[in-house]
Amino acid sequence: MIRTPNSAALAAAVTLALAVAVTAQQNAAAQQDGRAAAGKQTVTAYTHARILPGGKPAIADGVLVVGNGKVLAVGDATLRIPDGAVVVDCSGKTITPGLIDAAFAGGASANDLNEQSEEVTPALRVLDSLDPEAPAFARARRDGVTTVHVMPGTRNVIGGLGCVVKTAGDPTSMIVKQDASLRITLGAEPSMGNRSIGGGPPESMYYRRPTTRMGVVWEVRRAFYDAKEALQMTQGAPNASPPSEGVEILTRVLQGKLTAVTTARSEQDLRTALRIADEFGYETVIDEAQDAYLVADELAQKKATVLLGAPSAEQVGGTAGSDGASPRSGTVRALAERSVRVVVTTGTNALALPLVREAMFANRNGLGPQQALDAVTVEPARLLGIDDRTGRLAAGLDADFVIWSTDPLDPAAVAESVHIDGNPAFTR
């Protein structure tokens, strides 16, 4: 069960590490120093912690063994700790998988989240705009978030491709998934800035559709219509010239190869999102979903996954506030009762709290503690298709974990250290 690396090298590394690493913090420092060389071979066992592995009940007196950037083993006190492993006593602490924010709004300058020259820009990648040293990432790390899903902004009808990145690490290696999702935005936001006649110079590129909710839906429908047609043509004639990149991406959605994320806040937009998806036969994840309590049954029936933005908020802040949604604290419970899969996110609401506090509020508002924690770990990992790498604490997965001062759903909880791929990304 435990993959032991070359034992001689291990022993050498361990002796070295033991000499240096007495406490957890020193160990962390040592790992950081030797991140390239020695860090790879160091095996560390975190013992006597309460471990919430994700998707499974808590282990009261657990052991987490980490090495080579991966989780080597998780178990209770009976787990055999590999010889020579550095042992870190975590009595009184709680260890969870690194949190995953499935709708993370930071990480890039706001102007670069949307290419405003067109409304439908499926081929654009938000990854191109990310700054790995943005303060938003530092805040996320401090709050125990190790992986985020960043999507283009909500000013375009079809904004482009979202990506999944770790919140720390080398800029290239932190990318977990390049093309993770396609964002579609319904509601009032995509119309903002577009002008009707008399609203600006007629030659401006902003003199265009949509200026209404109807127009927004029309843009979505046209885009998917084109994609569907392209799909049928290529299927009929294999030698036909390949469709443009944008259309090709939409066909991937139609074929179920790419996750569509539809941002819809108010009830009408939520229903529209489900209807359009039905119409073209693709499945969509509903993002934000402030009014989801009004369409909970339909969501359940469609087996849709909901990215619930900022369950703590009792109103919607920022430009999205004009969308007409009326968030309620009871939403999480209403969805959970109908077995709708809920992923808790920070999303676009300007009033959102750190992700771990959002999970705490989900718990307060009626989600069970394990469910609430799963909603920021296991569930987003599954949704984003990265559950083979992170989201749980299990052997073989990335060593993304957080050592909390107490139960993470306690308002007093702080992340004492956050590890990404086994490296300390934040230490208090």
């Binding site: 890039a108 300058s109 102007n111 670069d112 989240l113 949307n114 290419e115 405003q116 020259s117 067109e118 820009t121 081929a123 654009l124 990648r125 938000v126 191109d128 705009s129 990310l130 700054d131 790995p132 040293e133 283009p152 482009g160 800029p171 401006s204 590129m205």
Partner: protein, 398 residues
């Protein structure tokens, strides 16, 4: 002490007077320029030596000067001053961004910057007083693909084009993203370039614009890319890796975040001239780049070139690299190191004269020569053995 300039060196009138008189008589004759310290290039310094200038170029240096040429030449002796190659500005629009960027379309790689060059332009006349002897005239940063840049030089009365086509300018910087036309975002700008390079690479029939991109991919033309933030630099580096070229990154404010990659890709950096009030991280960037082995030079406010180099030195850069960043490196980045940026045989006789090391602001700027003519400051009328005019000896007690 005797030779404090009688008039403000900045007055254009003085400039013209200085320039026209010797200019007329020296045209045909060789000139032997002597000084106590002769910096041919940052790592090659001669003491009590001379260069022989013929037809605006350096014909011989130091001991290589044939005796008969030496005696026939008109002698100009700067005494104990220091002669240094003139400053080269890698990229500039000479203060006229609007003339060097098409506004309606963002993709115009086949435009030529020199077509908009005005040899009588005011800014050009000021440059000798600032020690600048050559400028890479570049399209502005407002277009994603701005066009082809060339090399121009200030002159005695008017400027001249020294090289019409030297490099091609791109921009991923904030200036290139305009909310009134495509692209409005960095994603859009990168996508635009990626698509263009892709078409240039794979396309069968390509127009003159994409042909320029082909030259970039073939390595026959340097690509100069404006990029400031991490995301912009990252996009530029990704494009260069994908399409196989070595970019010269202009601006590169956050270059510290991509230092190791810059070195591996073989990129060079044209930094904005330093603002003395700027963040310490910016002031230390030159030293960091030097340590990482990334070639860099300064461009931006040409009146701050010398100050920028001095500030960089104050913040940890070695004097040799600082001097190179004003002279040799920009010439190399434009692929013109055989023409300008050093006082080697065959290079243009562009140099500046200071009393002391020009990286100390206390060193007085005495003269600037371009193409073998003194275009700014004093040209000593006859050879003198020594000048007691050192700053430290200059008395102030009256």
């Amino acid at each position: 002490m005797m030779r404090i300039p009688r008039r403000s060196p900045l007055l254009p009138g003085a400039l013209l007077v200085c320039v026209l008189l010797p200019g007329a008589q020296a045209a045909a004759q060789d000139v032997l320029v002597q000084a106590h310290r002769l910096v041919l290039a940052p790592d090659s310094v001669l003491t009590d030596s001379a260069i022989l200038v013929r037809d605006g170029k350096v014909a011989y240096v130091g001991a290589d000067i044939p005796a008969e040429a030496r005696s026939a030449a008109r002698r100009v002796d700067y005494g104990d001053a220091t002669i240094t190659p003139g400053f080269v500005v890698a990229t500039s629009t000479l203060g006229r961004d609007a003339d060097f960027g098409e506004t309606a379309v963002a993709f115009t790689p086949d435009l030529r910057a020199i077509e908009a060059f005005d040899p009588w332009q005011d800014e050009l006349k000021l440059l000798p007083a600032l020690g600048v002897t050559a400028i890479g005239l570049a399209p502005s940063a407002r277009n994603v693909a701005g066009g082809i840049g060339g090399l121009v030089k200030p002159g005695a009365a008017q400027g001249r084009i020294a090289e019409p086509e030297a490099f091609v300018g791109f921009s991923l910087a904030a200036d290139a993203r305009n909310p009134e036309r495509m692209p409005t975002s960095l994603m859009g700008a990168k996508e635009m370039l990626r698509e263009a390079f892709d078409t240039a690479k794979t396309g069968v029939e390509i127009g003159p614009d994409l042909a320029v991109l082909r030259q970039v991919m073939a390595g026959t033309r340097r690509a100069v890319v404006h990029a400031d933030t991490y995301a912009e630099l990252n996009a530029a580096l990704e494009l260069s890796q994908q399409f196989g070229f070595q970019p010269v990154l202009v601006g590169a404010r956050e270059a510290a975040k991509v230092l190791p990659r810059l070195a591996t890709v073989g990129a060079a950096v044209v930094l904005d001239t330093l603002d003395p009030e700027g963040r310490l991280a910016t002031l230390r960037l030159p030293a960091q780049l030097a340590e990482a082995g990334v070639p860099f030079c300064f461009a931006g406010r040409s009146d701050r070139l010398r100050l920028s180099a001095a500030l960089a030195v104050r913040n940890g850069l070695d004097r040799r690299t600082a001097l190179a960043a004003l002279t040799r490196t920009p010439a190399q980045l434009l692929g013109l190191q055989d023409r300008v940026g050093a006082l080697r045989q065959g290079c243009a006789a562009d140099f500046v004269v200071h009393h002391g090391d020009l990286l100390d602001l206390g060193a007085r700027h005495v003269a600037t020569w371009i193409d073998g003519r003194c275009v700014f400051g004093d040209e000593p009328q006859q050879a003198r053995t020594a000048t007691p005019n050192t700053t430290s000896a200059a008395g102030d007690r009256r």
